[in-house]
């Protein structure tokens, strides 16, 4: 049983991990600056924000929704955190509390409106994308808020550990997310709702609270992502994270999460995040011109998913 579970995981994640590995090898061969501790540490410290977003997004996609507001909510929580710390002198922890509250609440509003009133989450969260961005500008008065070292440590490697608290928290979020998804009633119901909401309803389960909670979780993750981003830039940037919703969704889809709901894995989404980040850093470190970078990025995204698809088909027929 145990054994077969391990081989099963290998089969499940093998394709994606192979893609990741190939990328690392290719970049290491093309640039002597890529495969070194500092680059890998840099990558590890760049992924937390997107990882948090992808964890929340995976759950949202699994219940059959979509959350376009994550970029804006990241910026909003970051703005709240920054303004409270820099302009009001609050401690990082109380500020973070408020920032998480704001993110979570906005997420719950997304969920309540889309689930409660039956409006596609695409539209509701598109609305929230605009609203939260506007609110971010109101909160920061459209100024970048520089905070400095009081928030920096969260994104800095721990002494003697190379990894930052932000990275460790993000990995924890992935593990907890995967556990919730596969081992709890909550997670099971999320998958069921995304698979066939009507069947869930006819089974006597009230699906609304679960679906709403998932959007709330996504909002909370935006709050954490806001912290990670703020600490990385030492600054709350009202302009930050524009378009990050597409990156988060891309990471999930690269990881095999279905946009139609009912299928997905948090760990795979995390690998998706790593693929995206390694690609970006790798291309930058080879120093190809920007326009070629974009072309290569596009091709790699498609090829990554293609390889994974071929692998899983091949896995099925044999």
């Amino acid at each position: 049983m145990k054994q077969s579970k391990w081989t099963q995981s290998l089969v499940q994640y093998g394709g994606l991990l192979a893609v990741l590995l190939i990328m690392v090898i290719v970049f290491s061969l093309s640039s002597q600056n890529f495969f070194q501790m500092s680059t890998l540490v840099t990558i590890a410290n760049q992924v937390p924000a997107l990882t948090f977003l992808a964890v929340g997004m995976t759950l949202v996609l699994i219940v059959g929704g979509i959350d376009l507001s994550v970029g804006s909510l990241l910026a909003l929580s970051s703005a709240v955190l920054g303004v409270l710390m820099a302009n009001h002198g609050w401690s990082i922890w109380t500020s973070l509390g408020v920032a998480l509250l704001v993110g979570g609440l906005a997420g719950l509003i997304n969920g309540a409106i889309s689930v409660g009133l039956g409006i596609p989450s695409f539209i509701v969260t598109l609305g929230m994308l605009e609203i939260a961005r506007g609110a971010t500008k109101v909160v920061t008065d459209s100024q970048s808020v520089f905070i400095g070292s009081r928030v920096e440590w969260f994104g800095q490697p721990l002494a003697g550990m190379l990894l930052s608290p932000a990275f460790i928290t993000a990995v924890l979020a992935v593990i907890v997310g995967q556990f919730v998804l596969t081992q709890t009633v909550f997670g099971r119901y999320c998958v069921a709702i995304g698979t066939n909401a009507e069947a869930v309803r006819m089974s006597g389960i009230r699906s609304a609270p679960y679906a709403i909670a998932v959007f709330g979780i996504s909002g909370l993750m935006c709050g954490l992502a806001g912290l990670a981003q703020t600490s990385r830039l030492s600054t709350a940037d009202p302009n930050g994270a524009i378009g990050d919703e597409l990156h988060a969704i891309a990471a999930c889809v690269i990881g095999g999460t279905s946009l139609m709901g009912g299928r997905g894995s948090v760990i795979s989404s995390f690998i998706g995040v790593l693929i995206i980040q390694v690609l970006e850093t790798g291309l930058a470190s080879i120093g190809v011109p920007d326009e070629h970078k974009q072309i290569i990025t596009g091709i790699v995204i498609v090829v990554a998913v293609l390889l994974d698809a071929l692998r899983s088909r091949w896995g099925k027929t044999t």
Partner: protein, 306 residues
């Protein structure tokens, strides 16, 4: 006024002595530079509320130039008397502004200068009010060059959006300063005026060229992105950074020694100069074709002596 627009040079022609409406059209209001500009304009209007009314509009990011053209058209349609604009693209806005002028509206160009060839080709004259970006960038570059004396002579540049004239000018200014000082530019990429993009690009520049001694950013948002990249690479203090704009966040960074210098192009006054020029032209007084506004070097010394 809803009626057909006569050339507004003669206010009496409209009958009632209506206050002129001035539209300020900027780029991304998410960039502090422009929100400062907007505030300056609004304050000016509050102080001169008897003289004109103001409509302020911006676009969602620096690149949304189609929306900016729409704004020009919409302002023309709603019958404003003057448009003061910081164009997102030096060429693409010209025809829309020409049409505005043909509709009898006063047009003043601020911040980012329109392309001279195209203006000629389209046969329009639009006065420009703004700084000499090349000179400004050169000032910042020269200051950096002095500070670099004795250390490695390699630097990298983060450019603005390549389609805008001021981005091109600042690049030239940086290049001129480095050339004079005999410093090599080993890498130069566009981060499109944005902090996050600049952070990623700067990070990789640092790993590809571990020996660079400085990063020159064409605006402060990108400079802040570079600061974070340098810090992540564990090289705070070793790699010097300069920016452009003098936004509030950069001042803190300069005081903390994380950024060496920036250029103040007085964003809050820029729009005001433009509006004043517009009001002047509405009154029928001639406006000179080019009004150069000041650019000043900002360093920790200038900041400590207010």
């Amino acid at each position: 006024g809803c009626g057909p627009k006569s050339t507004s040079t003669d206010p009496a022609a409209d009958g009632a002595p209506e206050k002129p409406r001035v539209a300020l059209i900027m780029k991304s209001l998410a960039n502090e530079f422009f929100s400062t500009m907007a505030k300056g304009a609004e304050q000016h209007q509050a102080e001169h509320s008897d003289q004109y009314t103001l409509v302020v509009n911006g676009i969602k990011d620096e690149r949304d130039l189609s929306r900016q053209v729409s704004l020009v058209e919409e302002m023309v349609a709603s019958g404003v008397d003057a448009i003061v604009i910081a164009p997102a693209d030096s060429k693409a806005l010209v025809p829309a502004l020409r049409r505005a002028k043909q509709a009898g509206i006063v047009v003043i160009n601020i911040d980012n200068q329109l392309d001279q060839d195209i203006l000629q080709q389209e046969d329009v004259v639009i006065p420009f009010v703004g700084p000499d970006n090349l000179a400004g960038a050169k000032k910042v570059g020269d200051h950096l060059a002095k500070a670099l004396e004795g250390s490695s002579n390699k630097v990298a540049i983060l450019e603005g959006i390549r389609t805008s004239f001021n981005a091109q000018q600042r690049l030239l200014g940086f290049q001129a300063a480095m050339d004079e000082a005999g410093i090599t530019i080993v890498d130069s990429q566009s981060a499109e005026w944005e902090m996050s993009k600049a952070n990623t690009i700067a990070s990789s520049m640092l790993s590809e060229h571990p020996d660079i001694a400085a990063i020159l950013a064409a605006n402060d948002s990108m400079a802040l992105g570079a600061v974070a990249a340098v810090k992540t690479a564990g090289r705070s203090g070793e790699v010097k950074i300069v920016g452009f704009d003098n936004i509030t966040a950069i001042q803190t960074a300069i005081r903390e020694g994380k950024v060496l210098a920036t250029a103040d192009q007085h964003g809050d006054q820029l729009a005001v100069f433009g509006i004043e020029a517009a009001l002047q032209e509405i009154k029928g007084e001639p406006v000179s074709e080019n009004v150069e506004t000041p650019v000043d070097l900002v360093t920790s010394q200038t900041l400590s002596t207010p």
